[in-house]
Amino acid sequence: MRRVLPAVLVAGILGLAACGASESSSKTLTVGVLLPMTGDQATFGESSWNGMLIAEAEIRAKDPGFAFQLERADEQSSKELSGPQTKKLIENNGARIVLGSVASSNTMGAAIVCKEAGVPLVTPASTNDTLTDDPKKFGEMLFRVCFKDSFQGTMLARFARNTLKANSAAVLIDKGSAYSVGLAEQFTKEFTRLGGATFEEGFSASDKDFTALVQKVGQRKPDVIACTGYYGSAGPMLRVSTEAWKGIPLIGGDGLDSEKLMKLAGEPTSRVYFTSHFVATDTDPVVQRFVEKYRERFGGKLPDAMAALGYDALYAVFEAGKRARAAHPDAPWTSAHLADALRGLQFSGVTGKIVIGPDRTPRKEIVIVEAVGSTFTFVEKIQPE
């Protein structure tokens, strides 16, 4: 045994190396997928991945000649791990293009690695503006299939001001999250422009005990509470808010869009609204076809926005792949060709028509959703001007 074990190990390592080599030289496109599969954004990762699986099956059926494989890495909802995991996808798995991640702070880590490696990164759901607006830091190869926070924050503020008729808003900010800080800034800008007044309160996503915060905010009696963090914080806040927030609606961005939100919240006395990319109760036939497929494959589960964006992100790769192949037939897959093909790409996804603009971000529609018990109801859909 003592002699056999090293031999087996060596054989295994050689075998792995051989696999890696054969993959990168073949005509199969390796798509790296970086997602939070565990940790406090795990439902985002799981949904995105499920959406990608639906897209993968469709693409394979539609175009069997398009050879590709998905390699997934778990960034564990951690800013620190997203960079190293992306490196692993590119260097060990031979990814020519990377999809991911969800939380903007985590995508930033991935973007820096992709920029250095010259690999395009398509983020399904990271909405923070700086990702595409700061090419010095994050490069020019980062694309998204979702809207930006400047758009989302503006629409959220208009909804609060015009539909909910709020005059004053409490803005709760997760100071450790680039997404939350950015969204809060855009919300505040538009809300005050429309004549409303805001006050802000910071919190940390690692907090468990929000009772003091909730009490403090409730006592100032705002007309609306905008929680710009993620469901992992908003849920527990709602849970302890019963008396203090009675009758004050809570609104937020797509960070609240998770089935876990209302489970963590219990039975809150506030109405809960958020802006998102997609909602399964939308009656649009494109949406309903996707919902049917998803429910069939995942045991009746309803897709959320992350699932729809995951689906659209993989389709963006497919559409770009087709374009790249048309431009460079017979050439092996290269990151540069894919990045060129992504610029100005147009296709129709389940989250609306996606036209990637010069800022590598699509201008697209936004939906407003109300969370009621464990279901999300469609409130309205707003087209970009």
Binding site: T38, A212, R239, E243, G373
Partner: protein, 357 residues
């Protein structure tokens, strides 16, 4: 004024949880001079044990008049949480600390830190790293008489079909505020029991935690001051070798100390997670650290000190969050630690003990 009162009550409840955990730190330190840094993880394991009892034991389905099934479920969760934590601590003491009793203190301290990491990551492996929502016990109500709570916008009514009392599929029905169960839903429920999930209200949790703390402190005081075991503990604390010469079984005393401290931490863990609605493997980390600070603040080794320190830290933190900054609340605890170590290292109620050379 009512604002201040509501902050004080929140602070008292948070402080009571810190006090629960701080008691364990203090007792163990008092007897074996060890800062048991794995205590926060014992707290977490207790919370998970309570979570599983609430989620799976089905005690809230007992055929008892309301609200006793929910009460029974919580009492069982607290007991099992406390026991699980207690057993874990006894095993940890036997395996990790007892062989090192004669070793230099720094060795034992590092062992405690290592054990803490082992338990944290073991729990990540076993339970997964994602936070789980705390299960609310079900409260049964007659299908005919489901009133909508006046303060809810919507609420969820769930029906579950049980012929022989086993868990089976259930269906959720949403009922808007002010409405009663729609006829279609009532028909769908058929002969099944309709129940509404009832979380504890914030005030109930606060009252419960503070009440338990008063009870636990009383019992502990009685145990330490009035029983043979307590006398043995005090003797071991003063001089373990002399106590052994006098016929005290030091090993049993140390095990009992660890057990009692951990039971309190486990109970605190269940109460803490019930109050904030979720549990994950890192649940014990911050409360563990804060409780350690509370123990130092009150005077480590002193039982009344732990209670006073815990309550004081909870109040300070909440008032700081309310009137100064929510974001810097966690930093405050560490500032308190530094200040107390500089100004009064023996803590508020501790007595300076001269080191024997």
């Amino acid at each position: 004024m009512s604002q201040l009162l509501s902050y004080l009550s929140i602070g008292l409840a948070v402080g009571a949880v810190y006090a629960f955990v701080a008691l364990g730190y203090s007792m163990v330190y008092g007897v074996v001079r060890l800062i048991n840094f794995a205590h926060g993880e014992v707290f977490m394991v207790g919370a998970f044990a309570g979570y599983f009892v609430l989620r799976d034991a089905g005690l809230d389905r007992l055929p008892l008049p309301q609200p006793w099934p929910a009460v029974a479920a919580y009492v069982a969760a607290l007991l099992v949480g406390g026991l699980a934590a207690g057993l874990l601590a006894v095993v940890a003491e036997r395996v990790c600390y007892r062989p090192l009793r004669r070793a230099p203190r720094i060795t034992v301290l590092l062992t405690a830190v290592g054990l803490s990491m082992l338990l944290q990551n073991g729990a990540r492996q076993a339970f997964g790293p994602s936070p789980r929502e705390w299960p609310s016990p079900r409260v049964f109500v007659d299908a005919e008489a489901v009133p909508a709570p006046a303060d809810a916008q919507y609420y969820v009514v769930r029906t579950f079909v049980s012929d022989r009392g086993e868990r089976s599929d259930h269906e959720e029905v949403l009922v808007a505020a002010g409405a009663t169960l729609p006829p279609a839903a009532r028909a769908a429920a058929g002969g099944a029991t309709v129940y509404r999930k009832a979380g504890l209200s914030a005030d109930e949790v606060k009252l419960g935690v503070v009440g338990m703390l008063v009870l636990a402190t009383g019992l502990l005081w009685f145990l330490v001051r009035r029983t043979r075991l307590g006398k043995a503990m005090r003797a071991t604390s003063e001089d373990a070798d002399a106590a052994r010469l006098m016929g005290v079984n030091v090993d049993v005393v140390v095990s009992a100390t660890f057990f009692l401290g951990a039971v309190l931490a486990g109970v605190g863990g269940v109460a803490y997670c019930a109050a904030y609605g979720n549990v994950d493997p890192l649940t014990g980390f911050l409360p563990g650290l804060k409780a350690f600070i509370a123990a130092v603040l009150g005077g480590i080794g002193s039982i009344p000190g732990a209670v006073v320190g815990g309550l004081l830290l909870g109040l300070l933190e909440t008032l700081f969050a309310a009137y100064v900054s929510t974001q810097w609340r966690d930093a405050l605890a560490f500032v308190v630690l530094v200040v107390i170590l500089v100004v009064r290292p023996s803590g508020l109620l501790g007595t300076a003990r001269r080191e024997k050379v």
